[in-house]
Symmetry: C2
Subunit: 390 residues, 2 copies
Amino acid sequence: MEKVFIVGIGATKVREHWNLSLRDLMVKSAIKAINNAGINKQDIKAIYIGNMSSGYLQGQEHLGALLATWLGIAGVSACKVEAACGSGGAAFHQAFLAVASGLYDCVMALGVEKMTDAITSDVTSALIMADDQEYVAFTGASFVALNALIYRAYIKEYGVKQEDIALFAVHDHKYAVNNPYAQYRREIKIEDVMNSPLIADPIHLLECAPIGDGSAAIILCNERFLEKKVSDQEGVIEVLSSVLATDIISLHDRDTYITLNATRVASSKAYKMARIEPKDVNVVEVHDAFTILGVISLEDLGFAERGSGWEIVREGEIEIGGKIPTNTMGGLKARGHPVGATGIYQIFDIVTQLRGEAGKNQVDNAEIGLAQNVGGVGGTVIINILKRVR
Amino acid sequence: MEKVFIVGIGATKVREHWNLSLRDLMVKSAIKAINNAGINKQDIKAIYIGNMSSGYLQGQEHLGALLATWLGIAGVSACKVEAACGSGGAAFHQAFLAVASGLYDCVMALGVEKMTDAITSDVTSALIMADDQEYVAFTGASFVALNALIYRAYIKEYGVKQEDIALFAVHDHKYAVNNPYAQYRREIKIEDVMNSPLIADPIHLLECAPIGDGSAAIILCNERFLEKKVSDQEGVIEVLSSVLATDIISLHDRDTYITLNATRVASSKAYKMARIEPKDVNVVEVHDAFTILGVISLEDLGFAERGSGWEIVREGEIEIGGKIPTNTMGGLKARGHPVGATGIYQIFDIVTQLRGEAGKNQVDNAEIGLAQNVGGVGGTVIINILKRVR
């Protein structure tokens, strides 16, 4: 396998982009990433687009050809990759393999989702397509409801107070304040979270990642391209490992609700492939679509013991300056969660940290970062481990 | 890059499967391919699913985790790949890269589409999502209408009689008779085609590939796996090249309607990568979603001069025993066209020929085969060139 490097990143702010179409969002983030890498767009030989619901929400498939056309590089390889809310991470994984294979010197992984040009009930219908339509969705369960089952099981198993889990949302908002790309750049208090309306008991509104529009893009290349085209670039990042793992798609068929097995499988493989251990990670992005998922992910990734993810949040270990700085740009809760784009935004945020470009949110001497992207209720998990190599 | 081999194929018959769900179709073809390869399902480490419209038509995304679950191998890498009607070919291309990269020893490429559990207008809406929603689909143009523009331009440019182009449908039906997987196993006459209703002038009903349900699967592996697990297998196929190219997504922005530039770009790269020329190909599958596309593809692939694709059809050169046997199992028109699955069915058919398992339709001494899969009106084209190596 060839070594794979990241040499460019670009993103739009996450928000309700009523004046930008799906196409506009893609083109904007792509051009930013190309400019950030300091390459020509003609250098890109393949594009992988992470997106979940463009067909259902915008009546638009075939995003590969659409983006290649509007970037002015029709001819290149391009396709869409879908793995529910893990689509962005899955697209990055394919982009990684495409470069690792040796067939392409330079490729782009891009994530996009536009959720505000559909009426709200449509977004809810779109999201539940991440679970089994015939055995789960048809019952009327919403995606929030499924995560509420996880939340209840966790609270019952470990006898934790909900406030201790809900704290994850407060954490995320604190760091989004300094992130120009974040959807909600304001702090919230634990009382705000606990007093916000119940969406699916026990999950409150402010424990849910919001609906939003956005696109982010990453330029990946091999060593040959790196030396030839971007040899003067500082802050080059190597992809040490990229692993995708599935789990049984629906909760009711699993042995347990309170751990995401796909996170355990994918992260243990990723650590091995990267030849590191959890303690070597300096900054992490976890997929906190709901506060409970943030807490469980800290455990499944090996940063906390089972049942104690909430403790390391309360003890400040996930703060900048703590043991394992987590979601330092706002996470899904406050940076935003345009589903198919999220996996790419996470990598954007990790690269920003590893390059030392995180401004007031900078983690000192961040060298190794990890991003965990989840599809469905853990049916798919993608782990990418990145390292600054110069 | 590691060498990539095909060691197993499986498919369901293409038809209206009112009693089989999307999941059932996928599982059936996957198990057939696994058994055909003589491997254990646990040998498969990644799955790539080609599908265009499961979200819109069945309310089901996240097919990767769904299939991994129902195959009983949750844990493996799995995702969906979409490139409109080229989704199957695009999924195969990713599977090829996944093995070529060295990360996976054995993977599955699977295509699936279920079109009969949606009302007809929905299928029409689903298919037009292959073109630009904001500039083309919104005008009310159907996918057939766009191909009618190509048809008219071709007839005008070359002064060809429509009967000569429509003959392509007659050709396909003749060979579907002997294909147990084909949707329409009966011969038709040119008069039947010309007297069938107009769908979008000048395209007649019997010039259009039908709507249908189906799934096909292919097992790919590297040389290490081949020697260790399937060393006694006869009829092993090597993937000499796999290339995906895009073109400007919509016809109105292109210089010409009467050639698919993506076919020319992808096939010339694929010939080069495989180190062969068109004359070396013994059997070919072209993407004849409409008769005119079959004719133009013969030209774009280098088997006929520009403007003379219809002649080699009329002269019998594309028959079994002819110069370049084409769509020998019925093609899209008669084998069927479950859109996201078609690219995999094409490879299934080519492998069947290269293995010498095509029965009454066998092409003598078929050693090298080529499959051309098209997404949209040529916005994406995938070319795969296969060779029997033992």
